[in-house]
């Protein structure tokens, strides 16, 4: 195995381990930490795939933004019930879910396995600049659309999460 193969294996194991820990750990905070591990591993994977800009964005958006958002969510809704045993979920449903997800994964793997594309150096030079150029020319419409989407999400989040004044006065 080449050195890059070893690196990939380590990253992959970290990512999967983080994912598994996230769904097996009991405490919500521990889960969040496991999640950060996965997000960082994925960012490292992007670096391996020479997608530095995406990797940085991954770290900023996921490991930074979304994680903090989630932590805030946990804090704001902190409740003793959160540590109640996870076993209450019907084990039958867990089994069905597990079987379905496993089937899905295995079949998908067999269909994905024949993909034997070889890697090519897609772009020599500054990725970030190239991305920026494409984003502002070819993809200007979805880009603007995303800005509206973020605006909507902003308005929506404020609207839903804020307390109405009347209520606050009571």
């Amino acid at each position: 195995m080449s050195s890059s193969g070893i690196v990939f294996s380590i990253i992959a194991i970290c990512a999967i381990l983080g994912g598994l820990m996230m769904i097996t750990l009991k405490k919500v905070m521990h889960m969040t930490v496991a999640m950060i591990l996965t997000y960082f591993s994925i960012a490292a994977l992007y670096v391996l795939l020479t997608a530095e800009f995406v990797a940085v964005a991954q770290v900023l958006v996921y490991s930074g933004g979304i994680t903090i958002l989630m932590v805030f969510g946990i804090m704001l809704t902190y409740h003793k019930a959160e540590n109640r045993d996870e076993e209450k979920v019907s084990s039958f449903r867990k089994l069905i879910t597990f079987l379905s997800v496993a089937t899905l994964g295995i079949v998908s793997y067999f269909l994905v396995a024949p993909v034997d594309f070889v890697a090519e150096e897609i772009f020599v030079g500054d990725h970030t600049k190239a991305i920026g150029e494409i984003l502002y020319t070819n993809y200007i419409i979805p880009f603007e659309l995303v800005s509206i989407l973020l605006l909507v999400a902003l308005i929506g989040a404020v609207l839903l999460a804020k307390k109405d004044k009347e209520e606050a006065n009571e």
């Binding site: 079949v107 998908s108 269909l111 994905v112 024949p114 993909v115 020319t137 070819n138 993809y139 200007i140 419409i141 979805p142 659309l145 995303v146 509206i148 989407l149 605006l151 909507v152 999400a153 308005i155 929506g156 609207l159 839903l160 109405d164 004044k165």
Partner: protein
């Protein structure tokens, strides 16, 4: 690419989108800056006017010819015109409904309501007018996120919160599944431009990669069934319709569902009709027909059977709308050659009848403060016009001759059978489903016309608001006129496609 090239595109074809975008933005800014005490009553009418203006500009553009902007990011063709028209009509009617929406006697309608409806509409319009997977996906998400917030907008109400929670979690799972499928499409073709994708997939014949292409089909179709509320991703619909306010439920069941069908047609036909199946024989779409068939059959059976059990009128309509999604999938399952017009006309029919029905429901439910079917008891004696209007909508939904619903069903059945007699199976399921639907539609009719003691009935507390009169009037007229003279609509359709 320089500014010159950018400006050389026919941006004027985006006029309807610009109108919606600008008015939504302006309204949100006004909402931000005017004082709290300032009445926001005019928001509804303003946004209604904006949507109508967009519709007018769309019609005025109708002979513009096919235009694409920036590698199919935006496509202006006959397909997008006719389907956008449905979205605009649907949203205009929903906005009119929303103007007088009341909940637990809170008079003031939330101002956010209107610009969120408009941004949702904007997303839906991009879904019908884009030939690029990224834009389509963003459009879908814009519609979804606006809808999530709209469902949650009655935030004092725990039912509404719960409905929104169900909606967003199921929706996010569905869009993750969809996105996973789309990523394979990108992977196999190296492009997100549907025209390019279409070209490349046809070269994939016989290779092992077409197995993966089929897999992506399953991911994508299952992801989309969420948006159209078809099995297996239909279960959110009843809970969400019940929890959401009535205009929002109407929006979800009509505009959002239509947008779902539009994107299904766009994506599936473009990608899979030209691709080869793993055995290298038929177009992949024919090969995958059985899955659409199964989805359609389960949806029809389940939607109708469970609707029988309902006592809440909005839940009943939710299941009925699930069943209708099943009917609209029939042309896809049958791969009938008249797929576009069948689906288009059915969506048009469904839009006018279902919004009309929801408008009546909104009035009765808020007047009685009761969402159960009993709220309609003796409506014929209490408010005759409402009962008669709802009667028309119900018989149109049930597909009884003389109404637009009948023509729509007839077209689907006739063209499915004309294409291939083997489709009789799905047609029979559809007809039997319709038969079952008579039972629950007629339960409401019986409740309105046959039940209720004259002496016990209370006259309605509120007059019918003007905006609802407009909505119901338009819908009744469309239901009957298009039922008798469907060519009024179909001729326009053909004119654009010829």
């Amino acid at each position: 690419m320089d500014l010159q090239t950018l400006l050389s595109f026919h941006w004027d074809t985006m006029m309807p989108e610009f109108i919606i975008l600008i008015s939504a933005t302006v309204l949100s800014l006004i909402d931000l800056f005017i004082g709290r005490s300032f009445s926001r009553k005019f928001f509804g009418w303003a946004s209604f006017i904006a949507v109508v203006a967009a519709l007018v500009s769309l019609i005025s553009l109708s002979d513009h010819g096919v235009t694409t902007i920036l590698n199919n990011s935006y496509v202006f063709d006959s397909f997008s015109i006719v389907f956008k028209a449905i979205l605009l009509i649907g949203t205009a009617l929903v906005i009119l409904m929303a103007i007088s929406d009341k909940f637990e006697n809170i008079e003031e309608v939330k101002s956010e309501y209107f610009y969120l409806l408009m941004t949702g509409l904007l997303g839906a319009m991009f879904m019908s007018s884009s030939g690029d997977l990224i834009t389509l996906f963003i459009g879908l998400e814009l519609l979804s996120i606006s809808s999530y917030i709209l469902v949650a907008i009655r935030k004092e109400n725990s039912k509404s919160n719960e409905a929104a929670m169900k909606y967003i979690i199921n929706g996010s799972i569905a869009s993750a599944i969809l996105l996973f499928g789309l990523s394979y499409i990108y992977g196999l073709t190296g492009s997100t431009d549907l025209a390019a994708v279409q070209q490349i997939v046809s070269t994939l014949s016989g290779t092992e990669l077409s197995g993966l292409l089929g897999l992506s089909f399953l991911f994508i179709i299952v992801g989309f069934t969420f948006k159209i509320a078809a099995a297996p991703f239909h279960m959110w619909a009843p809970d969400v319709y019940q929890g959401a306010s009535t205009p929002v439920a109407a929006f979800l069941s009509v505009v959002s569902k239509s947008a779902g069908f539009i994107i299904i047609i766009r994506v599936l036909l473009n990608i899979y009709a030209g691709a080869y199946s793993p055995d290298g024989q038929l177009p992949l779409l024919i090969n995958m027909q059985n899955y659409i068939f199964t989805i359609s059959a389960i949806t029809i059976i389940l939607g109708n059977a469970v609707a029988l059990m309902q006592t809440n009128i909005k839940r009943m309509f939710a299941y009925s709308s699930v069943a209708h999604a099943g009917y609209i999938l029939v042309p896809l399952a049958a791969v009938s050659p008249l797929l576009f017009e069948n689906i288009w006309f059915y969506l048009l029919a469904y839009t006018v009848t279902n919004i009309g029905a929801f408008a009546v429901i909104q009035y009765v439910v808020s007047d009685e403060n009761n969402e159960n079917i009993e709220a309609f008891r003796g409506l014929y004696k209490r408010k005759r016009s409402m009962a008669i209007a709802l009667l028309f909508f119900l018989i149109s939904l049930a597909g009884i001759p003389g109404t637009v619903g009948f023509i729509a069903k007839l077209q689907i059945i006739a063209s499915a059978l004309a294409n291939n007699p083997i489709n009789i199976t799905i047609v029979v399921i559809m007809i039997l489903g319709t038969l079952v639907s008579y039972f629950y539609y007629f339960r409401v009719i019986a409740e309105m016309f046959f039940k209720g003691d004259r002496l016990e009935l209370q006259p309605p507390k509120n007059e019918i608001p003007f905006n609802l009169i407009v909505v119901i009037g338009v819908c009744v007229a469309a239901t009957i006129v298009l039922g008798l003279m469907p060519n009024l609509a179909l001729d326009n359709f053909y004119k654009l496609f010829s």
